[in-house]
Homo-oligomer: 311 residues x 2
């Protein structure tokens, strides 16, 4: 049995994921919950963490490495930002220690792009990126990390040169719940099931992103005029937002770039379908594995003794 060496935590706005990692890099245990920053800010970050560690019978004193919104100002303990252009490996050693904890808990910083006309921030994706590009110190990469706030990142020879956040997931959510289109999508399942409507919207929005909110309104007009189903309306909204995001994400690199897609599950399926439909070149890296690799790289950098003991 592999000895537990450290705990890796991806602590987002609305989700919490924890892995008990072995000295040889194996995953000894895993916990997932919806106790993200928003919930933990009320119930207590230390308490949420301890409950999951107890559930896994994690040894006392085992160090914990954390990335994500737990390091925001309104999170557990502020971990600051590293400014772009930023060599990815600078993240590894810039973690801050959370004071007053019974064990060594470190939170990794986010990235900040301090441009007057294009300010942007990320927290958590920098660690995913670190893991996704591990072992690829050179070359140019256009990385797409879809989500509530999708990130498109440009990396050149291990340096993050710039990035852009698109509010795709959150807009899909607020439009589906709070706009007039809530009626049009009522009753649709979670996954856009109407392939044709999704593909048509992807192509229309990618070609003419200026028409995005018009295409989205078509979900309602299509329902009124030709009986568009709830699944069709949902696919149209999702496809439009994703198509416009891809057009924006590739605005600089162009449609000839090879995209590194870092995604899992439903989002992976959606974005792969979109890239296929647009005949774009991409390779996919699993987002869960990427963030775990990034956290592990940081753990090795911060606690090298842990590694040596295991060797």
């Amino acid at each position: 049995m592999e000895r537990p060496a450290y705990v890796a935590v991806d602590w987002g706005t609305s989700s919490f994921r924890l892995w008990l990692m072995g000295a040889e890099g194996g995953v000894l245990g895993e916990r997932r919950s919806d106790e993200g920053m928003t919930t933990a800010a009320r119930t207590g970050f230390a308490e949420v963490l301890q409950a999951h560690l107890t559930a896994l019978a994690a040894p006392e004193g085992l160090p914990v490495i954390v990335c994500g919104m737990a390091g925001a100002r309104q999170g557990w303990f502020e971990a600051g930002y590293i400014d772009t252009p930023a060599p990815l490996k600078t993240i590894l050693t810039a973690a801050v220690a959370v004071p007053g904890q019974p064990r060594d808990v470190r939170i990794l910083p986010g990235l900040a792009q301090r441009l007057a006309d294009a300010p942007d921030v990320m927290r958590g994706e920098e660690t995913q990126l670190l893991g996704a590009l591990e072992g690829q110190a050179s070359g140019e990469h256009v990385v797409c990390m879809p989500g509530t706030h999708s990130k498109w990142v440009h990396v050149a020879d291990g340096v993050v040169t710039g990035f852009s956040t698109f509010m795709t997931g959150e807009l899909f959510d607020v439009i589906s719940k709070h706009s007039i289109l809530a009626h049009a999508v009522a009753g649709a399942a979670d996954m856009p099931a109407d392939d044709n409507a999704f593909a048509a919207a992807i192509q229309a929005a990618y070609r003419q992103p200026a028409l995005a909110t018009n295409l989205i309104f078509g979900a309602r007009a299509g329902q009124l005029l030709h009986g568009l189903t709830a699944a069709g309306a949902q696919a149209r909204i999702s496809g439009t937002l994703i198509g416009a995001e891809i057009a924006g994400g590739l605005a600089e690199a162009g449609s000839g770039a090879t995209i590194t897609l870092v995604a899992s599950g439903r989002l992976r399926a959606l974005y792969e379908r979109a890239f296929d439909r647009l005949a774009l070149t991409y390779r996919t890296i699993d987002a869960d594995a990427a963030v775990r690799r990034g956290l592990s790289a940081a753990a090795r950098a911060i606690w090298p003794d842990n590694e040596r003991r295991s060797a």
Copy 2:
């Protein structure tokens, strides 16, 4: 004193406006309230109308001409659609009578664009359009009617050849209230007060509409990184949505077209500022006056006796 000839009503989703019109075209009385379709569907359309007529001491039996969402399926009485391409004047004689009323109440139809890839609908704006272009039977017009659901309409020689709805106003509303940006705009006044932020967002989104949701996220990043104010964040969101709408609205006609802006009040000021900033050519027609003129044209067509009596 001018004799009351008919009542004109613009009955939208969230607003109700009524004018008591004289036989010589004068406005003898006006009522405004928030008893739009949504409210009236609960409290009763006939009751809302009668209360306002009573408040103005409108004579019994005075006919009423209505445009807007009162004619939707979920409104008072369904008034159907006229399909594009549609000669504007066909609206005049296509009103339906609401059955069982103590007076003659007619509701004007909407317009429907039954294209498989670009379905669209309007209700109320067709009447505004009729009034805005009154006396201009010939020529090509690109008409912008900003609002909750902005409409951009192409009219050639009196025929509506096509139109596009942009969800600008509603998206501004749901983003400001229900997304993470609610924090960024909290406390801002109603009118975007930050001219520079508004102008910068208008230009950025008009130039690169694919970046719209990225530019909007900049309201949050700007607040985190360089203390963007609530007014600045609000102006950035508003400017981005309007800039992208204008790019979409002009996609077909091009930036050389002369835009006919049909707007009043706050929206008029915002769109004029945007057009000025983008150095676009436009002329403005007051939206309130336009819808009243459109309703009056319909009243004259439906009740010619009323006119003749007044002559």
